[in-house]
């Protein structure tokens, strides 16, 4: 006798559960996505039905993760949709600016309320010496991402880069679109909205790319990021003083790679899901550890956020301060990276992270001329050796600054550094390798893959595109089987969910 269906449990699966959002990579998501794809395929020729079904699924997806905050998502859409229209129609530049400024203030006001209220009160209280009782404010998941996405729309209209869309339906799909709703990439209206009405038709190349992205996303997230964090780096970051300097150093390098794999693994999955629904989104990563300067790093890491801040904060500031020449640029860098730090959350560690990065950039900018002259003089400018050294040096600066991303307070940061510099004990390395060979193999593999030529990736996608569907399915099945072997019993949330 087959067991009877537990309808109660079935119903619960469709209800909001704070601890059980539809994470990419879970079996529930897989069923959800299959249902979306089937409905999508059925409605392929009926544009309106296809688009409405995607809006409906996206709303359900957000409800599963954020419950009644769906209302906030709706409010954000209405606010920015009409604001965009009014900016476009406004008769004078002053009125345009007034509407833009007030909409940005409302957008940021909501973000600040949910994300920073407690931090602000705590900071004020620590100055005035008052008692601090944190308020119970739940953070609507994904708020930083969709607020920035919505703001890009009104800023692009203000800069006359796009005209507002007449379709509220299309605009809501741009804001709600579930593949990039919770953790980016922060897409722009100018590239996303024109794709909505496009006929739904997947090419072999797109399918090949999607298969590649799913495989790489699953491996990055579930094999490398989760395994390395759970079994190694989290433990060291929790109690740095219990470990020797060499273990702390390994944890720094391990967490740098695991952090990248977590976020870029998620992005790969998001891109693949988007692609299978017929949408190309902006990529967020371009092998960031290959960067040979900090400026280069920010062109390769979280690209959608850095281009957003570059276009809408840094450049306007830089232009309005241009009479101060390089000092104006330095102030613009400083403010932008303060925002980068704060964007990640209400914690001094993030603010120090942003300030350090701005210091590196300002230093790099002001010494560039002298360094170039020096390299030319000693005959190494443009040499491979110099480039390799710059990559190594940049990577170490990034790795050490990223400690701030994972430590709960500045004290932990200094503890880790003091262990590395005063209690190194290099001999422990060999014992460590013997005791934890899988961690070492995974990290070496991840770093090797990261530094392979970009053309290898293109070639792999090309081969996958020409592979028959059945074989693609076999590849996918093998990767999934492999991932399941590594997957921890408890799912690890993506690090960037908290931003």
């Amino acid at each position: 006798m087959p067991e009877s269906i537990d309808f109660q449990r079935l119903l619960e699966m469709f209800q909001y559960d704070r601890f059980d959002p539809l994470l990419f990579g879970t079996s529930l998501f897989l069923f959800f996505f299959l249902a979306v794809l089937i409905v999508y395929r059925v409605f392929a020729k009926h544009n309106a039905l296809r688009i409405y079904s995607l809006i409906f699924f996206s709303l359900f997806f957000y409800y599963k993760a954020a419950n009644y905050f769906v209302a906030l998502l709706l409010f954000s859409s209405i606010l920015n949709f009409y604001s965009g229209k009014f900016i476009f129609k406004a008769a004078s530049q002053n009125i345009k600016r007034l509407i833009l400024t007030s909409t940005v203030i409302i957008n940021l006001g909501i973000l600040v309320y949910f994300k920073y209220t407690n931090f602000l009160i705590e900071t004020i209280m620590s100055i005035t010496g008052g008692e601090f009782e944190p308020l119970r404010i739940l953070l609507p998941i994904g708020i930083s991402f969709y607020t920035f996405k919505a703001m890009s729309y009104i800023v692009e209209i203000y800069f006359e880069m796009i005209e507002p869309t007449d379709s509220f339906r299309d605009f809501t799909l741009f804001i709600f679109f579930f593949p990039n709703l919770l953790m980016g990439p922060i897409d722009k209206a100018s590239t996303f909205i024109p794709q909505i009405e496009k006929e739904y038709n997947l090419t072999n190349k797109e399918i090949g790319l999607a298969v590649f992205l799913i495989c790489s996303g699953l491996i990055k997230k579930y094999v490398i990021a989760d395994y390395v964090s759970l079994n190694f780096t989290d433990r060291v970051f929790e109690f740095p003083l219990r470990f020797t300097g060499v273990e702390n150093l390994l944890a720094v390098y391990g967490a740098t790679m695991a952090g990248y794999c977590d976020f870029s693994g998620y992005t790969d999955l998001a891109l693949a899901v988007g692609l299978l629904l017929g949408f190309k989104m902006i990529d967020n990563f371009n092998r960031p550890f290959k960067a040979n300067s900090i400026a280069d790093y920010w062109r390769r890491w979280h690209i959608s956020l850095s281009t957003w801040l570059l276009g809408y904060l840094f450049r306007p500031l830089q232009i309005s301060l241009r009479n101060l020449k390089n000092y104006g640029t330095a102030i613009a860098i400083f403010v932008t990276f303060f925002a980068v730090g704060l964007w990640h959350g209400p914690n001094w560690t993030f603010i120090v992270f942003g300030l350090l990065h701005s210091t590196y950039l300002i230093f790099s900018m002001s010494t560039q001329k002298y360094r170039d002259a020096f390299y030319t003089k000693i005959g190494i400018k443009g040499s491979k050796g110099l480039r390799a050294f710059q990559i190594f040096f940049t990577f170490n600066i990034i790795a050490f600054t990223s400690i701030l991303f994972r430590t709960p307070s500045l004290e932990y940061f200094s503890n880790m550094l003091s262990q590395i510099f005063t209690y190194f004990h290099g001999e422990v390395l060999f014992q460590y390798i013997e005791a934890y060979p899988i961690i070492i193999v995974l990290l070496v593999f991840a770093y090797l893959m990261h530094f392979t030529p970009d053309s290898w990736e293109k070639k792999t996608v090309e081969i996958l595109s020409k592979t028959p569907v059945l074989l693609q399915a076999v590849v996918l099945a093998v990767v999934i089987w492999f991932v399941v072997q590594f997957k921890s019993a408890e799912l690890q949330p993506f690090i960037y969910f908290k931003f």
Binding site: F159, R315, P316
Partner: protein
């Protein structure tokens, strides 16, 4: 058409010998024209043409064609 005068300002400011600037050229296609250097180029153009752009005018420029038209509109006044 990008004027010879503008081409010469850009070549000089970016230390290039004779880059092929067209109407469609965007900053990221030109070696050395990065976001940090951007402001020095704008300042050099303002100095050369003895004009002052509004912030929003510069932000709306998408390519060299736009920049040339902006300069033309300023110098025609």
């Amino acid at each position: 058409m990008i004027s010879d005068k503008l081409k010469s300002v850009l070549n000089k400011e970016l230390n290039l010998s004779d880059f092929n600037f067209t109407e469609e050229t965007t900053a990221n296609q030109v070696p050395g024209w990065d976001s940090l250097n951007h402001i020095n180029i704008i300042l050099a153009i303002e100095k050369e043409y003895n004009t002052k752009f509004k912030g929003i005018e510069i932000l709306r420029v998408k390519n060299l064609g736009d920049l040339q038209r902006l300069i033309d509109s300023k110098t025609a006044q």
